[in-house]
């Protein structure tokens, strides 16, 4: 009965997962591959199906159709207690009638691993809670309980560790601290982590790969930098950070670039950064890559210029100011300007032009909600 699991993580593969509940479909058609040893984040708003995905991987739900493969083996219908997978639950789910140490030793005892107590103690020391071994869960703070939940899962050396918004209940400061600790522990133990969260900063900060999930589907997947630089859909562009999006008809197409027309102005995008080449296209740029000018800047083939418009709102956020600029017939734009000199650099009601580099522009595959044909 006693079996040690693989020393390192295992590959996870989801094939065509679909999950229907009475009245709605939580997951439409999900394909996902997570290589062993990776820190993978599943990011999405609440209700997008990410927690259901996690529960299917843990075995707490069965998919309506599709397969769950773990380390090359089909575990779709394997019972949760027979899967080498452990979960850190959002509410921690520590057993209130057991000491911290017994909580951590629970999985080891069930699998009849030798010396469960010393091993549980090691795991508690890893999360720096060895001194609290004899306490009850109720006597610990939220952050401490979160670490116990992590130790209780990690001690089993699962092929795959599932984290269901484990930092959701913590305050901001503790959360940042736990993010660093969690990442450090993952590097130390080298297991495959699948982290489910709705916090885009958390996902980008911790994960090697981020998959953005929306309405039961994966919208886009990739390294955090790639996802941020080249969002491919309007949802990703807006959910992962902020974006200015412009919709217009494609009017010009050369070897390397593509232009759309919006309110009499042409906006260009490099062809390799555009998902869609013709028809009505949405282009976007990140607010920190846009600049405003008090006078109309000189036109250049490398620059997209819009304006003039009026500054409608200025929000001071510490390191930067966020300017809301209204350009007639184009709409509202957001521009971030770092507070490197005097702050603010422009005043409310001022007339300004906005520019951004063509190479920073990205073209989306779809149109934002409300702009569809």
């Amino acid at each position: 009965m006693a079996k040690e699991f693989v020393p390192a993580g295992a590959d996870l593969e989801l094939r065509g997962i679909r999950k229907e509940f009475p009245g709605f479909t939580a997951i439409e058609n999900l394909d996902l591959q997570i290589p062993a040893g990776e820190f993978f984040a599943l990011l999405g708003p609440s209700g997008c199906g990410k927690t259901t995905t996690l529960r299917i991987i843990a075995g707490l739900e069965e998919p309506t159709s599709g397969q769950v493969m773990l380390g090359g083996q089909d575990v779709t219908f394997t019972k949760p207690h027979e899967r080498p997978v452990n979960t850190v639950f959002q509410s921690y789910a520590l057993f209130p009638h057991m000491s911290i140490l017994e909580n951590v030793a629970f999985g080891l005892r069930r699998r009849k691993i030798e010396n469960p107590i010393p091993k549980a103690m090691d795991a508690l020391n890893l999360v720096e809670l060895g001194y609290a071994a004899e306490r009850r869960p109720q006597q610990l703070s939220g952050g401490q309980q979160q670490r116990v939940a992590l130790a209780r899962a990690l001690v089993n050396r699962p092929s795959l560790l599932l984290l269901d918004e484990p930092l959701g209940a913590l305050d901001l400061k503790l959360r940042r601290q736990m993010q660093i600790e969690l990442k450090a522990i993952q590097m130390e133990v080298g297991l495959t982590f699948l982290h489910v969260t709705h916090d885009q900063e958390e996902a980008m900060d911790m994960a090697d790969t981020v998959a953005v999930m929306h309405k039961g589907r994966i919208e886009q997947m990739g390294a955090p930098e790639a996802l941020y630089e080249r969002p491919k859909t309007a949802f990703v562009a807006k959910f992962l950070g902020q974006s200015n999006i412009f919709v217009g008809q494609a009017v010009e197409s050369s070897a390397n670039s593509l232009a759309i027309e919006i309110a009499g102005t042409k906006l260009s995008v490099p062809k390799h950064r555009a998902e869609k080449q013709s028809g009505k296209i949405a282009l976007g740029v990140r607010p920190e890559k846009a600049f405003f000018h008090h006078e109309a800047p000189a036109t250049s083939p490398d620059l997209n210029i819009l304006g003039p418009g009026e500054i409608k709102d200025i929000r001071f956020t510490g390191v930067s100011n966020q300017y809301l600029i209204e350009i007639p017939n184009v709409g509202d734009l957001i521009v971030f300007a770092q507070n490197v000199g005097m702050s603010p650099v422009a005043e409310l009601g001022q007339q300004v032009w906005v520019s951004f580099k063509v190479e920073h522009t990205f073209g989306l595959s779809d149109l934002p909600a409300g702009d569809e044909d």
Binding site: H81, E82, N86, F89, A93, L94, R135, R136
Partner: protein, 268 residues
């Protein structure tokens, strides 16, 4: 202000009176367990003695009836608690056909007058040709105890977060281990109070038992019959004993839980 001061004096007095009113019959029972009565009557004070306490089973039938009641109480409690706990878990955790009907019908025995239930059961047993005795008493006791067990345990199951059981499954516990190591210990306080309640109800029951006892005499039946001729002092001894046992049990659990709370508080 004046009204408030008046209330402050009246309230303790009122509480004291209520308490005395409640305790007089018990005090009377305990006092008369020390009465040096002769024969089967115990209505007038005839001097103090410990002899009745030392020799409880002197009067024929008393200890036998007491033993019968203990036996019936224990068996009914065991059956009702096991069944009731399972029903309570099923009602809270699972959605099944006729769930609300089951839930409703479990309340019926509590709402039905005991006379009606006792007579009805007697008629049923008669029609089935079942001979009255221990079996019929236990069946009817299980029936009314079950409702109370379900209600008590259900309240506890509702406070139990299902994610704890999921965590158990996730941590390699099979369904039996999840039940015995997680669900059961967390429900235990509810199950224990349900069992105590159920034993008290069974031990105490007169009406339903009276209709279905046949030749078997339980303690309440014995007292009822004896009361017409005057209750022997030995019944006072047993009644006082049961009362004291119950009181010590309550005080004991209270002290134990206080000690536990204090021990836990020390950590913080």
């Amino acid at each position: 202000m004046k009204k408030l001061r008046l209330g402050r004096r009246i309230l303790p007095l009122y509480s004291l009176l209520a308490l005395v009113y409640l305790l007089i019959p018990i005090a009377y029972t305990i006092a008369f367990s020390f009465n040096n009565s002769k024969g089967r009557t115990n209505t007038t004070w005839q001097g103090f003695t410990f002899s009745k306490w030392g020799d409880v089973c002197n009067q024929a039938g008393i200890c036998e009836a007491f033993g019968n009641s203990l036996f019936i109480g224990a068996v009914s409690t065991l059956v009702a608690t096991v069944l009731g706990t399972a029903i309570a878990i099923a009602l809270v955790r699972y959605r099944f056909k006729f769930r609300s009907l089951v839930s409703l019908s479990l309340f019926l025995p509590m709402a039905t007058p005991e006379v009606v239930m006792g007579a009805g059961l007697a008629a049923l047993f008669f029609n089935l040709g079942a001979e009255q005795g221990f079996a019929t008493i236990i069946i009817s006791h299980v029936m009314f105890c079950l409702s109370f067990v379900v209600v008590t345990v259900k309240a506890r199951v509702q406070t139990l977060d299902p994610v704890l059981e999921e965590a158990g499954r996730d941590l390699y516990a099979n369904p039996a281990q999840v039940f015995w190591r997680i669900t059961f210990p967390l429900l235990l306080p509810g199950i224990v109070s349900a069992a105590l309640l159920s034993f008290a109800l069974s031990f105490d029951d007169f009406i339903i038992t009276y209709f279905n006892a046949g030749p078997v005499t339980t303690f309440p039946l014995l007292i009822y019959v004896a009361a017409s001729k005057g209750v022997p002092a030995e019944t006072n001894v047993i009644a006082s004993g049961v009362f004291l046992l119950a009181i010590f049990t309550v005080i004991g659990t209270q002290i134990a839980s206080n000690a536990r709370a204090r021990r836990h508080a020390k950590f913080n």
